[in-house]
């Protein structure tokens, strides 16, 4: 039982990061019918932004928060660690939003009217560009992510057979992921911007007939999706805690599988698919063998494409005559 609970906790935390990445895939697909293969690399850039922000400003930020919360920069406090992590995540989100904006503006917008396949090839190209630029810029060796939470003991429940270990970082990742998803949900369903995003994703021409500046809305969509991937990058970097230029490709592909599982284009579906994948991976690693963990996402992808290509929550749009 304790074992099971442990796997569930691991799965939820992992699912949360998949969801943050998958949301960007699904939003961009919803609005442009484009699978943005460079999305995993945005995630990687987020991790590096987090790494360098922690390295060069992390201690200063942490000290400031410690002083504010405890009166002394030297006294470690959980609150200060959390606030520092949040600041670092926000920095990475801003940088990634800018990256997403540039990718859309420079790579995809000029090809908007071209055949789909050109866009897809461009997406692969952008992905390779970032992987190689990353190796050039950061070096290809993995870099250790500074540990903000080093002073925090894991929480333990029960003992011996029934021991459950909860890493505070896992809880932080899960709560942050859920919070970001709730904010996104609010934006999409309860703001003017979100309404415009849904309108543009239904039909560009129709949206522009309402006076909606579709290009701006598409740019905003890229920025939002990219910033979520950036947040995921930082949190994965903190968890592992290693960062390297090729780290984006596997989580990127897995999150893409999760988005397809939930129904690509569907925001709720992306979250659902991601948690299913995260939990399934955790359970497989725990009860079965961790060796096949990475193959699971692709197995699920193939199965869902065979059984229900529109995904769990995807609907085939039907127009009334």
């Amino acid at each position: 039982m304790a074992e099971f609970a442990q796997y569930i906790i691991n799965g939820l935390s992992q699912g949360g990061t998949y969801a943050l990445i998958a949301l960007g895939y699904t939003m961009v697909f919803g609005i442009l019918q484009l699978i943005n293969f460079a999305h995993g690399e945005v995630f990687m850039l987020g991790a590096f932004t987090g790494l360098y922000t922690s390295k060069y400003a992390g201690l200063a930020i942490l000290g400031t928060f410690n002083r504010l919360l405890t009166g002394s920069a030297e006294t470690a406090s959980t609150g200060a660690a959390i606030l520092t992590a949040i600041v670092i995540i926000l920095v990475a989100m801003c940088v990634c939003a800018a990256v997403g904006f540039c990718v859309e503006r420079l790579a995809y917008r000029p090809l908007r009217a071209s055949p789909r396949i050109n866009l897809l090839i461009t997406a692969v190209g952008v992905s390779l560009f970032f992987q190689n630029a990353g190796q050039l810029l950061f070096g290809s060796d993995p870099k250790a992510f500074p540990d903000l939470f080093e002073n925090l003991e894991p929480w333990t429940f029960g003992a011996d057979e029934n021991l459950i270990v909860i890493n505070p970082l896992q809880v932080f990742v899960f709560i942050t992921a859920i919070t970001l998803m709730l904010i996104l949900r609010h934006v999409i369903f309860h703001t003017r911007l979100g309404r415009a995003m849904r309108a543009v994703s239904f039909n560009h021409d129709l949206a522009s007939l309402m006076g909606i500046p579709t290009n701006q809305i598409i740019a905003a969509t890229f920025m939002m999706g990219s910033s979520l991937a950036g947040a995921a990058g930082v949190m994965v970097g903190m968890t592992y805690p290693k960062v390297e230029p090729l780290m984006g490709s596997l989580p990127g592909l897995k999150a893409f599988c999760a988005a397809v599982l939930g129904g690509i284009g569907n925001v709720t579906g992306a979250v659902l698919g991601s948690f299913i994948l995260g939990l399934a991976e955790a359970l497989l690693s725990g009860y079965g063998t961790p060796t096949y963990k990475d193959a699971l996402a692709f197995t699920i992808l193939i199965l869902i494409l065979l059984v229900k290509p529109s995904g769990l929550l995807g609907v085939n749009r039907t127009e009334k005559v």
């Binding site: 309404r195 415009a196 849904r198 309108a199 994703s201 239904f202 039909n203 021409d205 129709l206 949206a207 522009s208 007939l209 309402m210 006076g211 909606i212 500046p213 579709t214 749009r317 039907t318 127009e319 009334k320 005559v321």
Partner: protein, 240 residues
């Protein structure tokens, strides 16, 4: 602007889809306060004409002038701001949004935000069915209700010129009757309307002026009453 000055001028316009020419050096103008109907067979270029006016497709040559201003080549979302709204072909509503969200988007570019609620009420007054269903996904509306929504939503943009693309398509005769009545009523409030219809007889009955298109060219045009009486037109387009 005098009463008879055209609100819209379509000057020698040619429109292409790739290498296919859909509109051939077409010219016409629309007088303020009138209902002008564009009729013609499938593929005659009626929708293309409206798409060009709204800025969804850029003419290869010629100019489009609205309220004295050259709007050729302006992006669609800026043209709407000039109070030129379109209810596009095939009802063109956001099926993934609720009725009220659709109405709200119709007001995106409306110049007078203060009139928002009044316009919403007016739309619901014209089509009470929409009020009942305002929180429903518009994809669940019937065909007729969707058409009502498309018209009500276009009115949310406070248009001076309203483009309607086949509002009667696929509707039952009683509903068509009602839609045409409403078009006439809206026009009586002073709004200029360009009405695209395959249902030429009914369109010409409500319109002041008619333009008959054939394969991207104007075949004939004139006061609607004259066209209705012309033998040639009756034979070719009115099914006599």
């Amino acid at each position: 602007m005098s009463k008879n000055e055209p609100i819209l001028q379509f000057n020698d316009v040619s429109v292409y889809y790739g290498i296919i020419q859909a509109i051939h050096n077409m010219s016409f103008s629309v007088e303020k306060g009138q209902i002008v109907t564009l009729v013609g067979a499938n593929g005659a270029g009626k929708s293309t004409t409206l798409r060009a006016i709204s800025g969804l497709i850029k003419p290869k040559s010629g100019s489009i002038v609205f309220k004295g201003e050259n709007i050729t080549g302006l992006p669609a979302h800026e043209i709407v701001r000039k109070r030129l709204c379109q209810a596009p072909e095939g009802r063109g509503i956001f099926l993934n949004l609720t009725v009220e969200e659709n109405m709200d988007l119709g007001a995106w570019a409306a110049p007078d935000k203060g009139a928002y609620q009044a316009n919403m009420d007016k739309g619901y007054q014209l089509f009470p069915r929409l009020r009942e269903r305002r929180n429903q996904l518009s994809g669940t509306l019937s065909g007729g209700e969707q058409q009502m929504l498309a018209i009500a939503r276009a009115l949310m943009g406070q248009p001076e010129l309203l483009l309607l693309d086949e509002p009667s398509l696929g509707l039952a005769p009683q509903i068509i009757e009602k839609i045409f009545e409403i078009i006439t009523d809206i026009n009586k409030t002073g709004m200029t309307i360009v009405l695209v219809e395959q249902n030429a007889l009914q369109a010409l009955q409500v319109a002041h002026y008619g333009i008959v298109l054939e394969t991207g060219k104007i075949k004939t045009h004139g006061p609607a009453g004259d066209l209705l009486r012309s033998d040639e037109i009756r034979k070719a387009y009115l099914g006599d």
